[in-house]
Symmetry: C2
DNA sequence: GTCTATATACAGATAGAC
DNA sequence: GTCTATCTGTATATAGAC
């Protein structure tokens, strides 16, 4: 099926080519994406791609450096001060789940796992800028809260990772496996609320049965 | 390099062939595993494989039905009664992390994500028998604890998934991405203890700064 | 710079010789 | 049932025509 603009291909510079190729890579995966697919979509020439990026791996590396870094940049911003810890966790939780469930990140995540042997450096960058950074950012916030006496002392680095792990949880896995669609806004809010709740108070274990 | 038994290939029946092929699939991934790799390792003939399993997909499906089901069977056993909730969570947490970090499950997990479009039925089975079952088993335990008044009421299904999510967390992701080796026993124990701790009591948020 | 054709490599699947 | 050779399709990468 041709595109709706009536014509054929899209005239492209380097930027548009990267953007279009990124969409295809993140949608279909690295191996399943053929150079011809990209040509067909963007209208560029094969020789152009090879002279610009060397080979398929070079093209993909250029894309990830650009797109994934951009998508994950929201995690780097830690303008989370001025809120209660609960509000901060809720805000950060929403930011996390929105990023994780975005088409770009779902694609990056899948490709990172699939092609980690082929792109070890990219995978390292992805982890450090994404899940690792999220856990570290949270850890820093928790250390501060600890020093203010808002929470009990504990391993904040681990706790940060626990929060990130809960936000992903089985939901993210199901989406990654194609077993269900990404959650809508309501479901995301319920998830984040549940995670924040458990993170702050646990299940309020009382050790032995006791009426309340 | 030949094997240490001095000879060459291994004489195989159907069982040994499945076992050997499973090891290769789970180690290298589905796409990267060549039929010739399996032949080379097992010593069988190509025609034998194709007459037995039809094609590569059939061989792989037979393997997963056997091996993954076996590896995950430990999650189905819920002989966890007679312990405190904390001990039960600790036991179950160890069982979970040991399974997740086993070579077979790491391979299955990676292949499930990589090839979910090719094997939707297998992926469904994997999820239901693995992460889904783990969350559901925990949920049932939590419901019981709730009825005994040991914990506050809440969404036990979600809480079960949260526990599973924390056990995986960034650690499992790092291993999946090839960024680090699976944790040793000590690290696993520290992880499980930390997860159980947070799960039971959270960070004991007190809302506002207060000296203790 | 684009379009078409092709060299090359790889891997799944098949067939023949024994 | 095993070993070897081969058919076939696919996809990266290159080269030629314009």
């Amino acid at each position: 099926m041709s595109d709706a603009s009536g014509g054929a291909r899209i005239k492209v510079g380097r930027e548009q080519l990267l953007a279009a190729a990124a969409a295809i890579f993140f949608e279909q995966g690295y191996a399943a994406t053929r150079i011809d697919d990209i040509i067909e979509r963007t209208g560029g020439s094969k020789r152009n791609i090879y002279s610009e990026f060397g080979n398929k791996e070079g093209l993909f590396a250029a894309i990830v450096s650009q797109q994934a870094g951009r998508a994950l940049s929201a995690l780097a911003i830690d303008n989370l001060g001025g809120q209660s810890l609960k509000d901060m966790l809720t805000t950060f939780g929403h930011r996390l789940i929105d990023i994780y469930m975005s088409p770009v990140l779902l694609g990056v995540y899948r490709i990172a796992i699939t092609e980690c042997a082929r792109f070890p450096d990219l995978v390292r960058r992805f982890y450090d800028l994404g899940p690792g950074r999220a856990g570290a950012t949270l850890a820093a916030v928790l250390v501060a809260a600890q020093e203010r006496g808002e929470i009990r002392t504990g391993d904040c680095a681990m706790a940060g990772d626990h929060f990130v792990g809960m936000i992903r949880g089985n939901l993210h896995l199901q989406v990654m496996l194609g077993l269900r669609e990404p959650p809508d806004t309501a479901e995301r809010e319920a998830l984040v609320a549940s995670v924040v709740d458990l993170f702050l108070d646990g299940v309020e274990y009382r050790g032995t049965p006791r009426g309340r």
